[in-house]
Symmetry: C2
Subunit: 129 residues, 2 copies
DNA sequence: GGGATCTACTTTGCAATGTAAAGTGAAAAA
DNA sequence: TTTTTCACTTTACATTGCAAAGTAGATCCC
């Protein structure tokens, strides 16, 4: 019976959850950018992440200040156009973050195998009827 | 040219990332509690999550207010003891959150495979299908 | 030409909130 | 009885996510 196994201090602390990344909007942005390594223009990113202009602008600034994205301002069809691309550092930090996320998912999933299964695991696997 | 495929609005919005859960400390707490469905006492939780007293206290209040955890105050060995257990609602919300997390991981993983081959920074992928 | 409008962002202001530090109350030790 | 320890709670503040307002230039309309 595992009331509190020793040596498990910080077992669920997840320090890899980088605060810069662990934020819905920025997680969206980064996933978009990692999925589009050639980069995206402001408006497409806005749509993909369902963000408002102001919101995206601010988060991009944060990510730029952290050297996680590279922002290029240009002009297309006589209109300003902001181009965003993830940097190498950004991708690296993001991937590290991701591996922690995977750990969270794994940790949580493990419960379905818990010893005293019945009442507890019910609903764990969303196989709703 | 189809820079961005239509019909992908909000593709990376991840609205399932419940704000109450999507917070490092609370994610830790909930994962701990979901992994220990019989419940945990304040101090063990504190250790597992590497949180300070005040921090844990506040986050537990938030989770309790949301009916995600059930808090029982008792006395053990002549000392107060706070016992925490995840509720059914808490587990359900957590699992929904988790499935979104898995989606994030999947979305991102799809690319980290592509990126395997060559240099990282330059755009080397043709637009994803 | 000039005012209105549209596009593409930026900036501002504020309410929410995560966190450290200080506080509380009761038991145990000295 | 005074001090210390334990087990939390409360407070205060600095941060920050977000929406609304603002800015700058191009285009339309007359």
């Amino acid at each position: 019976m595992a009331t509190e196994p020793r040596g498990s201090e910080g077992r669920f602390a997840y320090e890899g959850l980088d605060r810069v990344i662990h934020e819905r909007a920025r997680l969206s942005v980064l996933t978009s950018l990692v999925s589009n390594p050639k980069g995206l223009i402001f408006n497409d990113l806005k749509q993909l992440c369902s963000l408002t202009d102001g919101n995206l602008s601010r988060h991009l600034s944060v990510l730029e200040a952290e050297n996680m994205v590279e922002i290029t301002k240009g002009v297309e069809h006589n209109r300003p156009q902001t181009f965003c691309r993830i940097t190498r550092e950004g991708r690296e930090r993001f991937l590290e973050y991701l591996s922690t996320l995977e750990q969270v998912v794994k940790d949580a999933a493990r419960v379905s195998k818990d010893e005293h299964g019945a009442g507890l695991t019910r609903g764990l696997l969303p196989s709703k009827a």
